[in-house]
Symmetry: C2
């Protein structure tokens, strides 16, 4: 007998909404420790130069300066998963954000002043800023720690294939080949990077107050960087002012802050200014994609061929591994019998790319969905029909081995086609100034974690106190996505405990069980399942006692409204009373249980084949735009979003994620670009880097598709990244629809629109 | 096959020694929170008075004052287990420490200035300061919330009896009746009382940084006082600068600090000055004891009769319940067939008594051991022999129902008699100025907790991280007794993990499992057993995997030096590798386990019968003194201590507890007294209140008795309170031995010695 859901699916405000609105949340930059110093970092002025000398003597003499360090003062390992990134640079700088020296001082002002007193002499050189230039045989080696056998300027290469490409090419009646150019954008977290390091000299213990999204991997990485034992490092995660993937890797400022604390024996805090945030944050991976796709005479897709050159920048961060996700889109979004995928992350003297919500999928989906529109146009097919004809389906196992046990792809497409009135749209009136258009796009993303590490799991400990309050100690991390609220809702649903009587503990590696981190849209799925496992163990302890007290059977018990009730007799007992009976009567036990959940997914083989996620999310968007043909300005009028979320857990939180994602996609599509010229970042403020603001936001119509995946908590799948992914191609397709031009890159600025219209006419 | 102990029993420095020595420990007064205010409390100037008016207007106008509260501003419940103690006093004050008003201000100085601007008008009355006066029929009722049926000035009454008293009296050939007067002493914690309250208005959550010894009971008590839900209150325990029982109860300053934070919405901190610490701390229960004891012709004890009047002060704290422990000494220390025990805590207008290391046992043992010496003298028996003849024995079940499954009483007595050369001592030369004497005393105390609450248990969660470090989350509390170190030693012993790879988490009620608190010498016993239970569960998870990897049986595994080794094959595997194998290979589990340990003890019946503790500790001391007959000064020369500790866990920590206890007992015996005259405390500094200092400390010779109690961890029993208990009677008996006077009270000041010698001659 399945009980009706009482909490899950009901709009529930975020648990942390009040403290955030009241200004009581403690963000990384709010941390104050006794005796704390302020750190600051000197960066190079040149994208490529030899360092001839660094003179810190004047800085050291400045009153209030406690410590100045350069590479010569520290014994550390390179960072990044390719170990190609020195924390402090020695002998040479390779990109404009390179760290030369760092200062710890009694005030922020003294620290800044001290930086200005450090004298660095350079021999400036001409850098390489174009990855195609870097790939040339005679190009000098950019990163001295590069290990690629074939070309020292390749940081990372991916090759994937499935099916018989030639056979599928031969079958094809339409082949579209196109090059796409994807720009640099950056996360624009409203809370800039902040870290506080507190090293205890007598304990040899380092506590880091860090915004990391992956505390347990971070602990290991910081330890490797500093040559410390990982367990001597405790990570505490203050409230985070935005993550979006930017805190998935560790960057030099973090071990630098730790080094300053180790050297001084005092806590040290480093907080980026907004300018530093633009200069020294990772970006979404910029790339050039050559995409070839085919279809047979029925309009069924036959093959895809992708060759991708990514500008890696001077050092490697997770951006270089985004092909891992991109290949999934090429191999598996819509049915396709053959796929060949090659991607190269190429060193340049530009700033480097990291991970960013969607992790390559926005780029891949853009290219693929643009190509589909072009194929439809070439074949004279309806753009909705060609998509529906090729949609993924439940039970499908793709060429890459992804297993779609549930699949809302077709339903999502049908929903947005229907809701947007796509089929009823009028033919464009080409005479006026303002031209309307509509575009479609869909996407596939992991929805049940991604096993890219030997474990993709999450641990949870649940503990009732004597008064019936529940503490959930979860390994998972809250970065604003609302996971705390969803976890509390799950516990409230299962145990009948009021939401106000649940607290979440999730910010301290010394206390919380292991979790791989917040990425890959995994938290509600993985942490939710982990919590359900722990609650199940808890109920196995509580129910027999309750059944005994109520003189009924365990199977007849309902947990609701703080009570445990017998379905048979209708009699109830307070849950907290049962907890106390267990605790305070022999054999005296506490209601504490732990559980570790590991998704039923596979670590992929060397050919990247395998079912990497416990579930898959699908989404489609139909977007209506209006193009001002005088100014080239694109206005988004309506966004229709249908997304296979498995099950709606918290409609309010879900709406927030969908809307935030769509707006982030709009920024990528229309206005945002981190402009880097000859290695120098030109957009160092929100004046120059144009984020969508409240007045740009269109009507967003959201239609959740509930496929109730057996693997997910209540059937839910991951949600977080998906909503931004189809937005740029849907906008590009809509612009193309409106004014009949080809859109091959982002952002679709008025300048580019006018240029394209001019070229067309 | 029992493996040799590698860690247990080896001298091990305290884990927190370094941070304390380096000044890096964060005590309650070191807490700094953003936006924090400083609280201060206005106390009455009169032990008894009507409050006519309180005018806070001038204080409120002082710049920097944020809040001033009196009883009229708050809606709270009375505190204390008798609910007889208003947090802020209204209409009437009853003792000199009474709280009238409180201030929160931006600085400590402003807060103090504001107190001086509060104008209180009183009608002063003559108080009652002698409990015998208070017991008179016509005495006015002192505490308006008193509930005793027979006499409103009785705060609490105890009646206990076993055996046939008359029959035993009839058998007796010697009956000694004596009155003893026991003074007020106070804990003299070097860290004064400190509390920081941080109330979140939007979350309705109160966090208290408190030195409480009983965080989970405290949470409940504060909640009842403030009319809040207990679970909305989080207790965080900073490093404590001394407890000794003083933080077992909650006092008005604690809810007052919370009220100031609730009223202001800002964190508020209250730290006592040393003067306030002397004025407004609880004391050891002062009392007058009429003790009658008998012995038969063989010198076997026959009966004991005790009538005890305790000066309760104006309000009730745990001091009133010390008869609970005292009666154990009268009923069960040495074999005794009959016992009648009556004790009354009587209200006066003095300051009130709380709990203090030993909890009444120092007083009871003093009276009993003095009476034994007097009986021996009267009967012409040897004082050692009479004690040995009546000593407790293994397997004894006492008249009160205490079950001595192991018993080192006789062994302890024999040891100190032997080591002190008691039997070889020369007869006193009565001609010189300096006279030497030797005294004996022993004691019985709970050594396996004390079930005075429905559960006397402790919960523990253990968690291995991926690098083989162990986190122990224990419900127990560290107050300097070294329990963290002992717990880490136990884990190191059982798991073969280096002490440096173990961390203890024990300071946050939101995180740690329930524990009744640190009192009754219970922590190593109860928390130690709880940890062993959790480790056992952990090994049940780890061993099968290790056995599989080593191709051996679970029974053959040894955990040592970070390795798991097969006894059979000699092959080893790193423990952390096994932990990772469990975590990172299917079915993927974490090494986290929780356990709750409840001692095998009984909640006593209404007649106080029952086996209240899981084990019992015994000790004996022989103390040699030299009395200066010109000045009356008593110098302690040698202290011989033998104590049944079950098993020595950490010799270094144990020595610290023994030495600290003996010195505390010496202070009680010779120099300490909180002098209260007509309700006013006269000893408000260390100039006037004489604590023993380093140069007073004699040679302390310690001989642990290891009885290996099956109930204790490795056989260990509780240790903490015992060493101070026999010290005062042993010193008194020694002084009596030296100069032939009767010592009937403490402290044995030079003045009293001279007076007694004069009286004798």
């Amino acid at each position: 007998m399945k009980k009706e859901l009482k909490v899950i699916g009901k709009p529930t405000p975020k648990l942390d909404a009040n403290i955030k609105a009241a200004g009581q949340a403690v963000y990384g930059n709010d941390i104050v420790l006794p005796n704390m110093l302020y750190g600051a970092i000197l960066r190079t002025e040149h994208p490529l130069a030899e360092i001839l000398s660094i003179d810190t003597s004047k800085a050291k003499q400045l009153p209030g300066v406690v410590c100045v360090i350069t590479a010569d003062d520290v014994d550390v390992n390179n960072i990044s998963y390719k170990r190609d990134h020195p924390i402090l640079k020695k002998g040479k700088v390779n990109c404009i954000r390179d760290e030369i020296a760092a200062v710890a001082a009694e005030t922020k002002e003294i620290a800044q002043k001290a930086l200005s007193l450090i004298e660095v002499k350079y021999r400036v050189k001409e850098g390489i800023f174009d990855p195609f230039e870097a790939l040339k045989e005679d190009a000098p080696q950019i990163n001295e720690f590069s290990t690629d056998e074939q070309n020292k300027n390749i940081a990372h290469a991916f090759h994937y294939e499935h099916g018989n490409l030639q056979e599928q090419k031969d079958k094809s009646v339409c082949i579209v080949k196109r090059r796409y150019n994807m720009p640099r954008v950056t996360h624009c977290c409203l809370g800039t990077c902040a870290i506080t390091a507190d090293y205890s000299t007598v304990e040899n213990r380092l506590t880091l107050y860090s915004g990391t999204q992956v505390p347990f991997l971070y602990q290991r990485d910081i330890a490797r960087a500093l040559k410390m034992e990982p367990s001597r490092i405790r990570i505490i995660q203050p409230v985070i002012g935005g993550g979006f993937g930017s805190k998935l890797d560790m960057y030099p400022y973090e071990p630098i802050c730790a080094l300053l604390s180790i050297k001084t024996g005092q806590p040290v805090q480093i907080v980026y200014s907004r300018e530093e945030e633009f200069l020294a944050s990772p970006t979404r991976q910029p790339m050039v994609m050559d995409i070839t796709t085919g279809a047979d005479k029925e309009g069924k897709f036959t093959f895809r061929e992708a060759k991708i050159i990514m500008d890696n920048g001077a050092y490697t961060s997770w951006g270089a591994t985004t092909p891992f996700v991109m290949m999934q889109t090429f191999s598996s979004l819509y049915q396709v019998p053959a796929c060949l995928f090659d991607a190269y992350a190429v060193y340049t003297n530009n700033t480097f790319a990291g991970s960013f919500r969607g992790y390559g999928n926005p780029q891949a989906t853009f290219a693929l969905e643009r190509n589909i529109d072009l194929m439809a146009e070439e074949m004279g097919m309806d753009k909705a029909e060609i998509r529906l004809n090729n949609a993924n389906f439940e039970g499908e196992i793709t060429g890459q081995g992804l297993q779609f046990k549930t699949c809302g792809h077709r339903a999502a497409l049908e929903t947005v086609i229907d809701k947007s009135g796509y089929n009823k749209r009028k033919s464009n009136d080409n005479s006026g100034r303002y031209k309307k258009g509509i575009g479609l796009a869909s996407m596939l993303h992991v929805g049940g974690g991604a096993k890219i590490y030997p474990s993709d799991g999450c641990g949870t400990t649940v503990k009732f106190d004597s008064f019936g309050y529940l503490t959930i100690i979860t390994g998972s991390t809250e970065i604003g996505q609302g996971s705390e609220t969803v976890l509390a809702m799950i516990a409230s649903e299962e145990l009948g405990v009021d939401m106000g009587k649940i607290r979440i503990i999730n910010t301290d590696t010394d206390i919380k069980p292991w979790d791989v981190g917040v990425h890959a849209s995994r938290t509600s799925f993985v942490a939710g399942n982990s919590l359900l496992g722990a609650i199940n163990k808890l109920k196995n302890k509580i129910s027999p006692k309750a059944a005994q007290l109520l003189k009924t059977n365990v199977e007849d018990l309902i947990y609701e409204n703080g009570l445990i009730t017998s379905r048979k007799t209708g009699e109830s007992i307070k849950l907290d009373k049962v907890v106390r009976e267990i605790h305070f009567r022999a054999p005296n036990e506490l209601c504490i249980e732990s559980y570790y959940y590991e998704p039923d997914s596979e670590f992929q083989d060397k050919g990247y084949k395998g079912n990497v996620s416990g579930a898959y999310a699908f989404a489609a968007q139909a977007i209506e735009v209006e193009v001002d043909t005088y100014t080239g300005n694109v206005k988004v009028l309506n966004v229709y979003v249908a997304q296979d979320v498995g099950r709606v857990l918290n409609p309010l939180g879900l709406a927030g994620q969908i809307e935030g994602g769509v707006v982030m996609g709009m920024g990528y599509a229309l206005t945002e670009e981190l402009i880097v010229e000859k290695g120098r970042v030109l957009t160092l403020s929100f004046h120059d880097y144009k984020l969508p603001t409240a007045c740009d936001i269109p009507e967003i119509h959201f239609y959740p598709i509930e496929t109730l995946d057996k693997a997910g908590p209540y059937g839910a799948k991951g949600v977080g990244e998906a909503p931004l992914i189809p937005t740029p191609p849907a906008i590009a397709n809509a612009v193309s629809d409106a004014i009949g031009v080809k859109i091959d890159g982002l952002p679709i600025t008025p300048e580019k629109v006018l240029k394209a219209m001019k070229k067309k006419s």
